[in-house]
C-alpha cells in the first residue's frame, strides 16, 4: 500500500522585493505556513528552488539553513513560542548567543529591542508572567535580535484581542517603514489592510490570486478570496 502524497505547495512562483510588505492569505491547509517554513529554512522543498538573494535555500545544508535563520530571517509565531524558563531579556538574547555575540553586548541590545516594543519594565519576567500581547512583543524583539533582512510572521495577531492585535500591527508597520521586508500570514483582513503592499492568496497549495496594493495605490480593499 502506498502512502498518499500531499503537495502542500505546488507550482507556486513568487518573487518578493526588498522592503516589501507581503500578505499571505488562504484557508486552513492552503499552504500558507508551509510557504513561511520554506522561507525560514525550517522546511525544504521536495523540488524547485527558493532563492534568497544569491543563495538557493533548497541546496543549503542544515548548518547553512540554521545560519540563514540566525542572520537573514526573523520569525514571529502565532503562539509566540518563547522559551518558558527564560526571562524576556534572556529570550531576546538567545539568538544573539547562538550567533556568538558576547554577554555584555547582547544584553545591551536585548534591552534596547525590548524598549522599542514597550517592554523595558518587563525584562526579568518569564513568559508565564506576561500577557499574550507582551509575549508577542518579546517574540518580535527576539526576531529582530540579529538584525535580519526579512521578518516572517505566522498569524502574529491570531491569538490576541483586537486592541493588542492593533498594537502589534503598529509595531510591524513601523518595522516595515524602517526598511524591513515583511511577509505576514494572516486571517485578519481588516487589521492589516493599511500596511500591505501586496497580497497573495493560496488555495490547495497553489497561488490562486495576487493583488498589488500599497498606500500609493489607494490601500487595501479587502482580502482576495474572501469574496468567494
Amino acid at each position: 500500500m502506498g502512502e498518499r502524497v500531499v503537495r502542500a505547495l505546488d507550482g507556486v512562483s513568487l518573487e518578493v522585493v526588498p522592503g516589501e510588505f507581503l500578505g499571505v492569505v488562504g484557508r486552513s491547509g492552503s499552504g500558507k505556513s508551509t510557504l513561511l517554513n520554506l522561507l525560514a529554512g525550517l522546511d525544504r522543498p521536495s523540488s524547485g528552488s527558493l532563492w534568497v538573494g544569491e543563495r538557493d535555500l533548497a541546496r543549503m545544508s542544515p548548518e547553512q539553513l540554521a545560519l540563514h535563520r540566525q542572520h537573514t530571517v526573523g520569525i514571529v509565531f502565532q503562539f509566540f513560542h518563547l522559551i518558558p524558563t527564560l526571562t524576556a531579556l534572556q529570550n531576546v538574547e538567545l539568538p544573539m548567543a547562538f550567533s556568538g555575540l558576547g554577554p555584555g553586548k547582547r544584553a545591551e541590545k536585548a534591552r534596547s529591542l525590548l524598549d522599542n516594543v514597550g517592554l523595558s519594565h518587563r525584562l526579568d519576567h518569564i513568559p508565564s508572567q506576561l500577557s499574550g500581547g507582551e509575549q508577542q512583543r518579546v517574540s518580535i524583539a527576539r526576531s529582530l535580535a540579529n538584525d535580519p533582512q526579512f521578518l516572517l510572521a505566522d498569524e502574529p495577531t491570531g491569538n490576541l484581542d483586537s486592541t493588542t492585535a492593533g498594537e502589534i500591527q503598529e509595531i510591524f508597520k513601523r518595522l516595515h517603514l524602517e526598511g524591513r521586508t515583511v511577509i505576514c500570514v494572516t486571517h485578519e483582513q481588516d487589521l492589516w489592510k493599511d500596511c500591505l503592499d501586496r497580497v497573495i492568496e493560496l488555495r490547495d497549495g497553489r497561488l490562486f490570486r495576487e493583488d498589488r496594493l500599497g498606500s500609493s495605490e489607494g490601500g487595501w480593499n479587502g482580502i482576495p478570496g474572501e469574496e468567494d
Binding site: 525560514a40 525550517l42 542544515p62 540554521a66 535563520r69 540566525q70 524558563t85 548567543a97 547562538f98 535580535a145
Partner: protein, 446 residues
C-alpha cells in the same frame, strides 16, 4: 554558541528539574564513591607495600648470597651460580667484604650475622635469633621507631635491643620496663677438646643490658633484612664465628674446626643510588656471586597490584556503567519533554551542533557534580573506615596503623574524568536524538 553560554543554558535546564538531577547525580555519586573507595584501597595497599620499601632504602641495597641462602632464594635471585658449583663462587668472608666496600658507589657493606640464642631473665626463658647490627641500621625501621630507650651506642659493648614480644616473654609487662635491666644470653660455641661421647659444643653465658625495646609494628613497616633482637655487630661476630647454629652443611663445621672461620650466609650491600646498584651488582656477579635485590621483585609486585587495582576499578566501573544508563534514560526523557523548546531553538537560529552540545553539557554537568560529590563521599567513607581500623590496631598494641586508603592525584582526577567521560558518552544518544527533532513538527505540536 560559545561554551560558556552552553554551560549556562545546560545548568539552567538542569535547575528546572532539580529532583531528577539530584537523583541522577546520586546514582553517579554512589558509583564514584564505590569506585574511589575500592581503587584508593588498592592504591593504599600498593603504597603501603612499595612505598615502605622505598622508605626503607631497600631499593638501594642488595644481598650477596652464600650457598645456603642462595638455595632458599633460588626462585628470586639472579642467575648466579648455585651451591652445586661452590668453587665457581667467591667465599663470603671479610676479604669479599673489603673487595665490595672498595667499589665505587658503595655506601656500606655488612655481613649478615645472626645466630640462635637463649635469653633468660629470672625464671623466664625465651629462644630467639640474635643479630649483629652496625650503626647504619639505626635510621632504618623498626630501629628508628624505638620509643622506649635507645638504639645500640656502637659496634661493641654488652647492650641489647629487644622486641616488645620478646620483652613480654621475659616477664617484662609492660615491655618498656625491660629498659635498663640486665638479661642473660646463652648460646652454643664449638668445643675443640672433645672426648668420646661428648657433643662438640659448649654453652656460653653473657650478661647484656637492655637499652631499648621496639614497638610492635606490622611486618611491612619493618626492614625485611634487619629486624628482631640485636646486639652490637662486633659482639655478635665474636659469638657467631664459632657458633654452629643455622649451618646447613658439615663443611661449615669442618671449616670452623680447621680454624678457617665461618663463611657468612649473606652480605648486605648498600649503594648510593639505583644506578650504582646495577653497576655494583654487575661487578659482584662477574666474580661469580649470586645476588638478590628487592628491585628485581618490584616488577612482579607492581604487576600484582596493577591487577588488583584493575579488578577493583572494574567493580566500581560497573556501578558507574549502571549510573550512566540512568543518565541516558533521564536525558532521553528530557529530550521528549523538551521537543518544543528544541524546536524553538532551531527556529531562531540554533544549529544542530548547539543543540547537541547543550545536551552533552547537561550530561557532563551531571557527571561532574556526581563525580565531585562521589569523590568527597568516597573519601569520607574511607576516613571513617580508617578511624575504625586505627582503633582496631591500637587495641592490639600496634603503633602506626597502616593507612590502607590512598588518594593519589591520578585517582582524584581519574575519578572525576571517568564520571564526566562516561556521562558524556551516555549523553551522546539523547543529544543526537535532540538534533533530529523536526522544528516544524515540534512547534506544531506545541
Amino acid at each position: 554558541m560559545p561554551w560558556r553560554d552552553i554551560l549556562q543554558m545546560a545548568w539552567r535546564n538542569i535547575g528546572q528539574a532539580r529532583l531528577r538531577f539530584v537523583l541522577t547525580c546520586l546514582g553517579v555519586l554512589i558509583a564514584i564513591s564505590t569506585l574511589v573507595a575500592l581503587v584508593s584501597f588498592g592504591a593504599g595497599l600498593r603504597l603501603q607495600t612499595v612505598g615502605n620499601l622505598e622508605v626503607r632504602e631497600v631499593f638501594t641495597s642488595f644481598q650477596i648470597l652464600g650457598p645456603a641462602r642462595s638455595q632458599s632464594f633460588r626462585r628470586f635471585r639472579d642467575s648466579g651460580p648455585d651451591s652445586a658449583t661452590p668453587t665457581a663462587r667467591p667465599v663470603l668472608d671479610e676479604d669479599l667484604v673489603r673487595r665490595v666496600a672498595a667499589l665505587e658507589g658503595v655506601v656500606s657493606v655488612q655481613p649478615d650475622i645472626r645466630f640462635a640464642a637463649r635469653l633468660e631473665h629470672g625464671d623466664k626463658v625465651h629462644l630467639t635469633r640474635v643479630r649483629g647490627a652496625g650503626p647504619h641500621v639505626a635510621p632504618l625501621s623498626p630501629y628508628s621507631k624505638i620509643t622506649q630507650g635507645r638504639f645500640l651506642s656502637g659496634t661493641q659493648g654488652a647492650e641489647i635491643v629487644l622486641t616488645g614480644r620478646v620483652a613480654r616473654r621475659l616477664g617484662f609487662e609492660p615491655p618498656e620496663q625491660a629498659v635498663g635491666k640486665t638479661i642473660q644470653l646463652l648460646t652454643d660455641r664449638l668445643k675443640r677438646d672433645v672426648s668420646d661421647g661428648d657433643l662438640p659444643f659448649q654453652t656460653v653465658r653473657f650478661s647484656y643490658q637492655v637499652v631499648g625495646v621496639l614497638p610492635r609494628l606490622l611486618p611491612n613497616q619493618t626492614n625485611p633484612f634487619f629486624r628482631g633482637v640485636v646486639i652490637p655487630l662486633e659482639e655478635a661476630r665474636e659469638l657467631w664465628k664459632e657458633n654452629a647454629s643455622g649451618m646447613t652443611s658439615l663443611s661449615g663445621l669442618t671449616s670452623l674446626e680447621e680454624g678457617r672461620g665461618r663463611e657468612y650466609d649473606s652480605i648486605d650491600v648498600r649503594v648510593a643510588d639505583l644506578v650504582s646498584l646495577e653497576r655494583v651488582r654487575e661487578e659482584v656477579r662477574s666474580w661469580g656471586a649470586a645476588t638478590f635485590a628487592i628491585v628485581d621483585q618490584m616488577k612482579r609486585i607492581q604487576e600484582a597490584f596493577l591487577v588488583l587495582e584493575v579488578v577493583l576499578g572494574v567493580l566500581g566501573g560497573i556501578a558507574m556503567l549502571v549510573a550512566s544508563l540512568g543518565i541516558a534514560n533521564v536525558l532521553i526523557i528530557s529530550v521528549m519533554e523538551r521537543r518544543q523548546v528544541i524546536g524553538i531553538m532551531k527556529a531562531i537560529g540554533g544549529t544542530d551542533r548547539d543543540v547537541r552540545r547543550i545536551f552533552l553539557a547537561e550530561a557532563g554537568l551531571i557527571g561532574f557534580s556526581g563525580g565531585v560529590m562521589g569523590l568527597l563521599a568516597g573519601w569520607t567513607l574511607t576516613r571513617i573506615a580508617t578511624v575504625f581500623i586505627d582503633r582496631y590496631f591500637q587495641s592490639h598494641d600496634i603503633l602506626n596503623a597502616p593507612n590502607l586508603f590512598a588518594y593519589p592525584l591520578w585517582l582524584v582526577a581519574g575519578a572525576i574524568g571517568f564520571a564526566v567521560g562516561l556521562s558524556l558518552l551516555s549523553g551522546v544518544i539523547p543529544a543526537n536524538r535532540a538534533t533530529r527533532v523536526d522544528p516544524v513538527e515540534a512547534l506544531r505540536q506545541g
